[in-house]
């Protein structure tokens, strides 16, 4: 179980890396996410990373902060990171928690994010 929870799925579509985030978000996944993506980038050129949040029903400030660090790492390696498909409840929750969201490049959906990154 722990094994499958931690699994990070990397999908490369037209030069864009798409990673669907699981619900519920768990630490094992977040631990795995940054090294997986960065190592992938070392071997494959990508024009951007899309973190697909469309399946995520809840996200706390701790998870959000860890996503920021993933984004920071990827940005350092030269690719933009787009958060796609955040649900209304998640967005409202994050705003109430008053998280720092200045780093976020948002997008309505994975499709819209693809349009931007391709």
């Amino acid at each position: 179980m722990a094994q499958s929870e931690a699994r990070v799925i990397l999908q490369r579509v037209e030069g864009v890396l798409i990673v669907p985030l699981p619900d519920p978000m768990h630490d094992a996944f977040l631990d795995e996410l940054r090294p997986s993506v960065l190592e992938y980038m070392r071997d494959h050129p990508i024009s951007g990373l899309i973190l697909d949040l469309s399946g995520v029903e809840a996200l706390d400030e701790h998870d959000f902060e860890r996503l920021r660090r993933v984004a920071d790492g990827v940005t350092l390696m030269g690719a933009p990171v787009v958060l796609a498909g955040m649900k209304p409840g998640v967005a409202a929750g994050l705003v109430l928690l008053d998280v720092n969201d200045s780093w976020v490049i948002p997008s309505l959906s994975v499709e819209a994010a693809m349009e931007r990154l391709r």
């Binding site: 024009s47 951007g48 933009p80 958060l83 796609a84 498909g85 955040m86 649900k87 209304p88 409840g89 998640v90 967005a91 409202a92 994050l94 705003v95 109430l96 969201d101 976020v104 490049i105 948002p106 997008s107 309505l108 959906s109 819209a112 994010a113 349009e115 931007r116 990154l117 391709r118």
Partner: protein, 294 residues
């Protein structure tokens, strides 16, 4: 809901049901007499409301036949799914007809009194008669509680439905173009309303895939720090979802208040009138589709 809880609350055991059944066999033959007396009492006690609930002979006859069935069920005293279901149904009917709980409970009280009377006259020889009657009262009162409980639940549902309808009416979000939504906010924005607006706004953004959301506040009576903060929150949440919010219709006095109060509006895009907001929105909706990588 857990209806078993009612049995616990009223300390009702299998013995009580047995008692009611024992008594029921003796007094059930008086059902017609019972119904006549009960409805005579209701006609007397409810006054004009009786005529409101039973405007003609047909509806009265129907109610009487339902009452008859309900009471025969009661005297059979079987606690099973069918029984609970029929009591829930009674509560629903009372809620639908807007029959006041006090009228229902008073009628229940009168009914138990009548059955006690029948017990004394028809089964004076029954052993432990007072115990049987006591069981009947407790089961009857529990049933009353159950029906009133369902009644208040249904009434609560009706109220929340109405308040939802009111919320929908006060947040008329309209799609004015492909990917552009607009909401004219009118009246007073308190935190309750702001929450409603934000929720509806975000839902609509997700559903309609809105690239731009125009929040027109020219109809908002007062813009103070609290309202401004609500607006900023809405803007931020919408941004996280990938939608761009423009707050339009800032009157000169509102702009002055914001400056005087020293409210930090941050990245929130504001315009003085709707026309400017529309221009920006069209621009963005068009640009958004063509723009390359950041």
């Amino acid at each position: 809901m857990n209806y078993e809880e009612f049995k616990l609350l009223y300390e009702i055991s299998e013995i009580d049901y047995e008692n009611v059944r024992k008594l029921g066999v003796r007094i059930a033959p008086a059902i017609n007499d019972f119904i006549d007396r009960l409805y005579a009492y209701m006609r007397e006690a409810l006054g004009y409301e009786f005529d409101v609930h039973f405007p003609d002979e047909a509806s009265l006859a129907r109610a009487q036949s339902l009452s008859r069935r309900a009471w025969l069920e009661f005297l059979e005293a079987k606690w099973d799914d069918a029984y609970v279901k029929s009591r829930v149904r009674i509560g629903e009917v009372h809620a639908q007809l807007q029959i006041q709980p006090r009228h229902y409970l008073a009628t229940m009280n009168k009914s138990l009194e009548l059955w006690s009377h029948f017990a004394h006259t028809m089964a004076p020889d029954q052993s432990d008669l007072s115990k049987l009657i006591e069981s009947m009262w407790r089961v009857g009162q529990m049933e009353g509680a159950l029906v009133v409980d369902v009644y208040s639940q249904r009434t609560g549902e009706i109220i929340s439905q109405q308040s939802r309808a009111l919320t929908d009416m006060s947040t008329p979000i309209t799609a004015i173009w492909d990917g552009i939504l607009m909401l004219p906010v009118v009246g007073i924005v308190d935190s309750r309303r702001a929450q409603d607006i934000m929720q509806r706004m975000l839902e609509q953004i997700a559903e309609k895939r809105a690239i731009v959301f125009i929040l027109d506040i020219s109809g908002v009576a007062v813009v103070d720090t609290a309202v401004a903060n609500h607006l900023i929150r809405m803007t931020k949440a919408a941004r996280l979802m990938g939608s761009y919010t423009i707050v339009s219709g800032l009157s000169p006095s509102v702009a002055q208040t914001i400056v005087e109060l020293g409210i930090e509006v941050g990245d929130m895009k504001t315009t003085g009138n709707l026309q400017d907001a529309l221009k920006i929105a069209f621009d963005r909706a068009g640009v958004e589709q063509k723009i390359g990588a950041k």
